[in-house]
Symmetry: C2
Subunit: 350 residues, 2 copies
Amino acid sequence: MYTKVYKTAVPKRNKASIEDVARRARVSITTVSRVINNVPTVSKKNQTKVEEAVAFLKYTPDVNAQRLARGLNNAIGLVMPGYPGIFYSFYAVELIRGVGHACETQRLDMVFHITNGYNQINTNSVGGIIFADIIENKKQVEAAIESGMPCMVINNVVDDLDTNFIAIDNEEGGKVAADYLVSLGHTRIATITGNIQTQAGAQRLEGFKRFLLKSKIEFPDEYVREGDYSRRSARIAAEKLLSLPKPPTAIFSASDDMALETITVINEKGLKVPDDISVIGFDDNPSSIYGLVALTTVRQPLFEMAEMSVKYLNNIILGKKKSLVHKILSPQLVVRESCSGPSKVRFSVI
Amino acid sequence: MYTKVYKTAVPKRNKASIEDVARRARVSITTVSRVINNVPTVSKKNQTKVEEAVAFLKYTPDVNAQRLARGLNNAIGLVMPGYPGIFYSFYAVELIRGVGHACETQRLDMVFHITNGYNQINTNSVGGIIFADIIENKKQVEAAIESGMPCMVINNVVDDLDTNFIAIDNEEGGKVAADYLVSLGHTRIATITGNIQTQAGAQRLEGFKRFLLKSKIEFPDEYVREGDYSRRSARIAAEKLLSLPKPPTAIFSASDDMALETITVINEKGLKVPDDISVIGFDDNPSSIYGLVALTTVRQPLFEMAEMSVKYLNNIILGKKKSLVHKILSPQLVVRESCSGPSKVRFSVI
DNA sequence: CTGAAAGCGCTAACAA
DNA sequence: TTGTTAGCGCTTTCAG
């Protein structure tokens, strides 16, 4: 359980302590503490004296001592599933950015953790944990919750665990994509899914499929190709789709990265988007504007979701928020250039 | 300086403390401490008693108390420049993975920080800082060093600061790319650079250019297009390059992502890689194997560099390493399919 | 091999 | 408005 023998003899950096400041300012430690914590009941005179001493000594409070004394960790953990498809994605980066930004504005340390789902996560140096999706690591979430650690799950509606979550309405997202493609007149509509292990991947597919069925549109199995959010998987899937005897006239790729790769593959076959095949993505990744055709996509507010998650989590940690947080954010259609009606010509071309 | 008024009344989670364990095991606190720190001088009997109590109470040591008592932070900071080009790159993700992995094996917290170059970074909750490149944030590095914080700069040879660094020999990398292209017989060779603000970007270009000059190969200004590691910048640059009256027969893109986008643009123009134009990248991003043509590239050991940086940094923090660490890692040519000799036909085609 | 006791640097009643 | 004092939970001398 504990593998390392503790060694002594550590070079101690000699920082000024609160006591040094107090001595120099000729006030009590308490007064210094008050000043650095902006407690209002300090006389102007002492305030100044302390501030001068702080500046002179280049004093900064010892975070560990503060945390110990306060019984509170101004740090939150962000744990991210380590499997490549999700980790090398726009999703991951946006989440990191969003959480990082929110942490900064709230003066929280963000301790970042990549998990394989099995390692035990150090639940001790943080006041709460944000799980960036659950994928093969439900055990960890359960363990954290059970230990009393405030938790927040992102991108996942967790019904079976008594915890907080903020997610995107992915079923709605899939529906939006299908709806748009159908409204354009397509009847041969395929999808390259996200990782089906993720709720997002599964639900996007579910909403998509459901709308198609409702619209009485045939949706054969070979029109569903499983991807994992990576460009590589999208390439493989797109190639399969295009080599079908009866290829689709429209493809919904469950992430913009995958949609971009889909378009690339389509172009490589000598076909054009959207003239020959329409492609719609998911994310609203800024980089999807700059290709040959600007990508039509379903926007999901990742950055905002990430920011919200730390705000809510922090309020939970501080006890300001008692009830569970269950938020579901809506995705939104963003129409650009990569979709149009199915071309008549196309049928004779292939 | 301190903006938030400290608030009291925080809900304290009641975790078992070392005292609880001691009481239950009927030994002293010291003995418990010895057990959890694997100090050998504990009798088998007491060892067992303590372990049972630990298990029963689900005790885990309070990290903050440990850090305070030890005067040592088992946490390191990773600060990453926030500008999109670098942040949304393979480089960034590999670094995060590498540092994360090394931290995990060394039982270190990794506190992650995205910087705009101006904000002050919280230097207090970590025992050392890794700067993932220096770009517009030299001030921060200087401040950290001056405060006595152990620092490690990645991907940057810092001559003017008295600190540790591990970098790639980017000039050599540029040279390797140029050398290969020249050896293939190319004479019209262009490059899409990385962000020139980064040392890596500048030096890759420098080494590339220098070899070309040495080889008496003409290298006009319009054959140098500045990118910023993003696909978007590569697209713009590639389009310019291809619309030149005398377009290049080979292109060195300073990252694999950019090389992939370069290839995409080339294909969009109806040209083939490598038949019409050769493309060489930089990174050895695994995803560059799966395109229409497998990418020839210059491999840089990012993950290893990241891992090394935390190992060295940790040794510095622990006082095991006294002298400065100045390491320079070598890049390596990886030949795949995206480069060949210049086609004779091509000249008549364009 | 064990334990008492003195901190580590800070916060927060409580009294003044 | 200020200071005294008792912790926060752990490590580590030092004496047994």
